[in-house]
């Protein structure tokens, strides 16, 4: 009954629990603080990619009123507004996530980390909703 069988050769194989496997032994940790980190990192990367576009649009103002106005009229499109709201959420997620980390690192430890994470995310979503309410 106990004859062993040789299996696949990866040290981390994914099966449930709160640890997920993403190929090649790379693991993701499935708990709120980890997802808060993922959100913070992704929002940071997207914002870094957005910044050059932002500066380009600002530079249009130097080249002439017409080009800037043409671009700004494009942003009146509802889909663009929605994208802007998403960008706003990302910005707010990055800011509130950063404030959360500063609180973790420079204030005495609190055991309600999940509440802190939820508050940071909630504030970011409210900021996005407020932007949408004002912009539309």
């Amino acid at each position: 009954m106990n004859r062993p069988t040789v299996g696949r050769s990866r040290r981390s194989i994914g099966e449930g629990g709160s640890r997920l496997s993403v190929g090649g032994g790379r693991r993701l940790d499935n708990h709120p603080a980890y997802w808060a980190f993922v959100l913070h990192r992704l929002s940071g990367v997207v914002l870094a990619l957005f910044l050059p576009a932002h500066f380009y649009v600002l530079a249009l103002a130097i080249e002439g009123e017409g080009r800037l106005d043409a671009f700004l009229s494009w942003t009146d499109d509802p889909w663009v507004k929605l994208s802007e709201a998403a960008l706003m959420v990302l910005l707010a997620v990055h800011m509130t996530g950063g404030l959360r980390l500063l609180a973790v690192e420079f204030l005495p430890w609190r055991d309600w980390q999940e509440t802190l994470i939820a508050c940071a995310l909630g504030a970011a979503l409210v900021a996005g909703a407020a932007f949408l309410a004002i912009a539309v």
Binding site: M1, N2, P4, G7, S9, I13, A33, E105, W109
Partner: protein, 242 residues
Amino acid sequence: MSEATMRELEVAVWRGGDSGGFVTYRVPERADQTVLDVVTFIQRRIDPTLAYRYSCRVGMCGSCAMTVNGRPRWTCRTHVATVAKGGRLSLAPLANMPVIRDLVADMTEFFDKWRRAKGRFVPAKESPKGFARVPPADPKRRAADAGIECINCGICYAACDVVRWNPDYLGPAALNRAWTLYNDVRDGDRLGHLLAVAGDAGCHACHSHQNCMEFCPKGLNPTASIAGLKRAVAGAYLKGEL
């Protein structure tokens, strides 16, 4: 119960070194069986060449930690019933460490980092007059108490993303130890403990993912200890002490 009617677990066990592979064994399922019981059964009844570590079997010594179904766990206090979904287990050595053989990870670097983090008590230069009195309610004593029960099992180190990204990072256990010593009012070189962890791969490298806290089998919170070190290092730097 006869052998024929006994339920069996399907257990995939890592065999070999870093470039080894999983070998599947079938082990009888028992009531109140721990993961360590399963490993011991395989080694004693099926394949005596299986290498693994254990000592106390009661969650005190920290030697039996392994990767169980993708998570680092202490196997002596982990019941099969709580982790073996569908009667399947996968057992591998702890991550973030080289593999010596089978389920035995090489913990040399882990313990070297304790030394690099200056994780030992430094006696004061002058002999204390009588016993040092440290009131239990003292904030420093309470901070040290919160981290002092570490059993060096290496689970937090295996769970840490920063250790995986930066092999020089001292890791949660060594930093937690440094924090307990920094808060030990009898220690003769408390600033020395801070200096040892203030560098690039020290406390400031922590991203506060809190995996260490999530996985510590003793319920300790190394993330909080590391955050404490960050504050202490920043404070000492601003005061010109570092």
